[in-house]
Structure formats: structure tokens, C-alpha cells
């Protein structure tokens, strides 16, 4: 697929996404949307992680924090809507009621902006340091943000917040169940994330990222603006994670800091690109589909604790045995066949 240009690739992705949606709609099972949403969310998360981790070689352990920021900016706006009458005088409240509640796509954009800004700040503070420090700093940031959210009563604090998911989504004459609406949104996000990742890969930006990954010092010596490139990467990566998190409160119905900041988001968004392969947009996609489906299957058939163990073991196993991921294995196989 390397010869396909970006416009064609975008069209192909949209067609594939439409086929997925048509299939899911035809089946008409709500569970399919619930399970599919989780996998799509992981595709976005894994792709976002890979922009910084795979392309630039900077490990982010704080994926969950960016995700949770997206989710909590939605919670804050939903709570704000509920308390407009108490907070503002009548006239102003009337105007605000026309704007609120904000539609989910707007929440997604806001989540992206919030997480993107935090990603930028994070990068600005730490990226002048060596790689390992960045990784530790992301972990630290996740705990600081979690403490802030736990102590912020407006969004429920440590007790968590209940968000009521509407029964249906209506647009003119079209009426679908709300979970299908969320599924469609996440599907579009996945398309956007993949197209962005692929475009970066074959642009000057992507080559700049690759020089940072291979030898940052040499890149800087050759005049590559490494700090600026890294800031672009942290901002983009954070923004996509925020987008993935923004619709989450509506999906889960009850959001608690411990679950939103859960280590499983961090470990999954690292494990998926690692298992799929980090050098190309295909890797996170494959990894998310394989690992995401396996987890859905394990959660239903065994238990959710065991499914996390599977993720951990697969991550450790893959980084030791197959450093280039599934993608690398396939490429090596193809190359061997061609040369023999």
C-alpha cells in the first residue's frame, strides 16, 4: 500500500469504516457496539502513543492521564450544564441553556485541546532531558493529575461522577441508539488518527521524528529542530488521547478517578504498538485489534484480572522475542521468501 497517496488512503479508510458500521448495524446487537467501541478506542490510544513512542522513541507512561483529562473535561462540562441555574443570573442562564449541553463532537474537540495543552506543557518541561527522565516524568504527571481530580469536588472527587447516557440520538429524521452514535464517533476518530499517523510518517515531520529516534544528538547537530519536533509530537499524541477519552463518560456511565487513570490504559497503549510493531501506522492498528479482541474474549470467558495478566505477559514476551512486533515478523518472512 506504500504507493497509495493520502487522499486515496483517506477514501479507502472511510469506505472500510463505512463497511464496518454497515456490518455492525446489520447485526443489530448492542453488545457488538460496546465491544467495538472499546477496540476502536484502543486503536486511537495506540496510534496516539505511537506518534510519540514509535516515531520519536519517547516512552509515555502517562497515557491514562491524557485519556482521563479528556474524560474529565467532558464531565466538568456536563456538570457545569447541570448547575447553570445556580451559578448564573436568570438572563445569562437562559442564553447558556441554548448552548449547553454541548454535543459530543464538541466535547471531543475540547478534550483534545485540554490534553494537547497539557501534552505541550509536559513536553516543554521534560523533553530537554534524556529519554528515561521523560518516561518517569509522565508517570509522575499522571499521579499529580489524579490527585488534583480526586480533590476536585465539582467533578465528583474520589466518589466519582454519574453521567446519564441518553436513550437515543436523533438528528432530523434519523434515530439510532446512543451507543451506536458513540461507536460511529469513535470510528471516525480512529480514521482521523490513522490518516494523521500515516501522513506524518511520509512527511518531512515523520523523517524528522525518525532522526530523533535514531540519534537525537546527531540530528540536532545536522540542524533538525529537535525540541520543536518533539513538542509537536507530545501535543499531537496528547490531543488524540484526550479525544479518545472525551466520549468515555457517556460510554461508561459512572466515572471514577481510579478507573479513568487506571494502569490498564497505560499498559494497553504501550503493549498494542509494541505487539503490532512501532515503525508504521499498521502496527498499532493490528496490535489494538488483536489484543483488544483477545481481551474482550478473555473478559467474557475467564475474568478481567486474567485478561490484564495476558496483556502484561504478551508485552514482556513480545519485547523480548519479537522486538519488531507482528509487523516485523511478517516483513522478515516475506523478505526471506523473496530472497530464497
Amino acid at each position: 500500500m506504500s504507493h497509495v497517496n493520502t487522499t486515496k488512503f483517506t477514501l479507502i479508510s472511510i469506505v472500510v469504516a463505512a463497511l464496518v458500521l454497515a456490518f455492525a448495524h446489520a447485526m443489530g446487537i448492542d453488545y457488538l457496539f460496546f465491544a467495538g467501541y472499546t477496540i476502536l478506542q484502543f486503536i486511537v490510544m495506540a496510534t496516539a502513543w505511537n506518534i510519540l513512542g514509535g516515531y520519536c522513541g519517547y516512552v509515555n507512561f502517562g497515557s491514562a492521564a491524557f485519556f482521563a483529562l479528556g474524560a474529565y473535561s467532558s464531565v466538568a462540562l456536563i456538570k457545569f450544564d447541570a448547575e447553570i441555574d445556580e451559578l448564573f443570573p436568570e438572563g445569562l442562564a437562559g442564553i447558556l441553556h441554548h448552548i449547553f449541553p454541548l454535543p459530543v463532537p464538541v466535547l471531543i474537540v475540547i478534550g483534545a485541546i485540554v490534553s494537547g495543552i497539557v501534552g505541550f506543557g509536559m513536553g516543554y518541561l521534560t523533553l530537554r532531558l534524556r529519554g528515561a527522565f521523560f518516561a518517569i516524568a509522565t508517570l509522575a504527571m499522571a499521579v499529580v493529575l489524579q490527585t488534583l481530580i480526586v480533590n476536585w469536588d465539582f467533578v465528583g472527587g474520589s466518589r466519582g461522577a454519574y453521567i446519564i447516557r441518553p436513550e437515543n440520538f436523533e438528528l432530523g429524521a434519523l434515530q439510532v441508539s446512543y451507543i451506536e452514535y458513540l461507536f460511529v464517533l469513535m470510528l471516525s476518530l480512529a480514521v482521523v488518527a490513522l490518516v494523521t499517523a500515516r501522513t506524518i510518517e511520509r512527511s518531512q515531520l515523520g523523517f524528522g521524528f525518525a532522526t530523533i529516534r535514531d540519534d537525537e544528538l546527531a540530528a540536532e547537530a545536522c540542524g533538525v529542530p529537535t525540541l520543536r519536533l518533539k513538542l509537536i509530537a507530545t501535543t499531537l499524541s496528547g490531543a488524540f488521547m484526550g479525544m479518545a477519552g472525551a466520549p468515555f463518560p457517556y460510554y461508561i456511565g459512572y466515572l471514577q478517578p481510579q478507573s479513568a487513570f487506571g494502569l490498564e490504559y497505560a499498559v494497553n497503549s504501550i503493549a498494542m504498538p509494541m505487539i503490532g510493531g512501532t515503525t508504521s501506522w499498521v502496527g498499532p492498528l493490528v496490535g489494538a485489534i488483536v489484543l483488544g479482541s483477545a481481551q474482550q474474549y478473555a473478559t467474557v470467558t475467564i475474568s478481567s484480572a486474567v485478561n490484564l495478566l495476558i496483556v502484561g505477559l504478551m508485552l514482556v514476551g513480545f519485547v523480548i522475542i519479537a522486538p519488531k512486533g507482528l509487523l516485523g515478523l511478517v516483513q522478515d518472512r516475506l523478505r526471506a521468501r523473496r530472497s530464497s
Binding site: I136, M274, A305, G312
Partner: protein, 291 residues
Amino acid sequence: MDISFDLLINAIVAGLLLGGFYAAVTAGVSISFGMLDIVNIAHPAFIILGSYIAYFVNINFGIDPIIVSILMLPVFFALGGVVYQVYYLSFERRGQESLRGLAFFFGLLFVTEVTLILVFGVDYRYVEAAYIGPSLHLGVIDLPLRMLVPCISALVLFGVLELFITRTFTGRAIMAVSQDQLALQLMAADPIRIKRIAFGVSIATASIAGALLIIIQPVEPSVGREYIGRVFAICVLGGLGSMPGALIAAVLLGVVESLTATFYGPSWAPAVAFGFLLLTLAFRPSGLLGR
């Protein structure tokens, strides 16, 4: 805010005791991260493993947790050796330690935590010992023995480690490998063997730190996560590879955290360590006593 003098003194004393304990927790990372350049973020998971072993033996056989942890030292040392060997063969030798090595330790952390959850569940566990409960009273100052004993043990551990590193042949070799691996090789010493020993020692300290942790507070598998930030904050704040620096930083962090918990509430305490870490990384990356 009305700050009573007694409360302030007690908060500072509690912080000093806590800081001593943090020093024990950090000792291992000081060696692995500070000297060997191995970013072992799974270290807290090994500490929790130590806690659970101390808990298991204590509950079933009634042996003192600190004695259990000393008996377990060789096991943890061997475990560290094995982990280093895998790390060396799979990552360090291929020069891939940054990205994949980090992911490896992260996976290890996760696997240990989930395994402990599967075996012991998510309930808080605690140990029983004669010194848990009573306190010494010196005027207005309260010294709970459950804090004092870990603090003293931690300081002993720290002192022994410092002596080991500065006075013994192996310890000096560890310092040498942290400074110049090639030069050590030219002296006909095997840097990989030295590093394996050093990493073994670093994991062995987790056994003792784990026992001390479960004396101080009840433990559940995900408690370790809070310590990731703390240990790295202390390590970086103290200056990489500097044991005295780590001790000062540990005590400093203990006091600040204890003051925060006393005057603003315990739910703010975790943010202190990480806030410290972020600020240090941003403004003084070489730490207090850094080179």
C-alpha cells in the same frame, strides 16, 4: 490557619521517620538507575512482592517480618541476577534498552501486580509484631515504634550498603562500572558480571524495604505505584548515583509529605513527591548533590 506547635513538631518527627524509610525504598533504585543506568521502574513491584512474602510467612509461621526479609535476601539477589541477565541479553546487548527496556520493566511491574491480585486479592494485608502498636513518649513528641523500627532498620541497611560500595572490592567495581565500563573491561574485569551482582544487590534491598513497608502500613498490590514516583523523585532530587544525596532527599521528601498530610489532608500527599520530581526535572535535573 491555626498551627499548633505540638502538631508541627510531631509532623516533622513523623516526616523524619518516614524519610528514613523512604531511604530504604530508594536504595535499590539508587544502584540500578543511578549507577547502572537501568531504568528499573518495576522496583516498587519487587518491594510489594517482598511485603507479601513477609506477610505470608508472618501470618503462617509467626516469624518477625524483618527476619523473614533478611532470610529472603539470597532469593531476591538471585531473582535480580536473573532479571538482569534477561535484560542484558534481550536489550542492553542490542542497544535497545531505551524504548523496549522500559516497556519490559513496565510489563514486569504490571505482571507482578496482577499476579499478586490473582493470588491474594485486592484486600489490604498487614503483619503482626510486638512493636506494632506501642509508642515512646518524649515530652510532647510521640514516637510510634511501628515507624521508629523501620526507620532505624532502613538507616542500618543504608549504612551497610554505603560501606559495601565504598569499602569492598566488589562495591568499588560497581562504582567503576558506573563510571567507565570500557576501562573496567581493560582491567580484565567482566562488567556484565559486576552489573549482574549490582542489580542483584539492588533487588535484594527490595526484600527488606518490602518488610518495612508492611510494618508501616497495610499493603495491597497496587500500593507500589505510588512509590514509583517517590523513589525516582528521591533518586533524581538527590543526584543520580549519590547515596548520601538520596538519604538527604528522602528525609526532605518525608518531612514535606508529612507536613502536607497533617495540614492539608492525606489525599494531597501523593502529589507532593511528584510535584517535587517534576520541578526538579524541570529546573535542576542534576539534583541536589549532582555532579
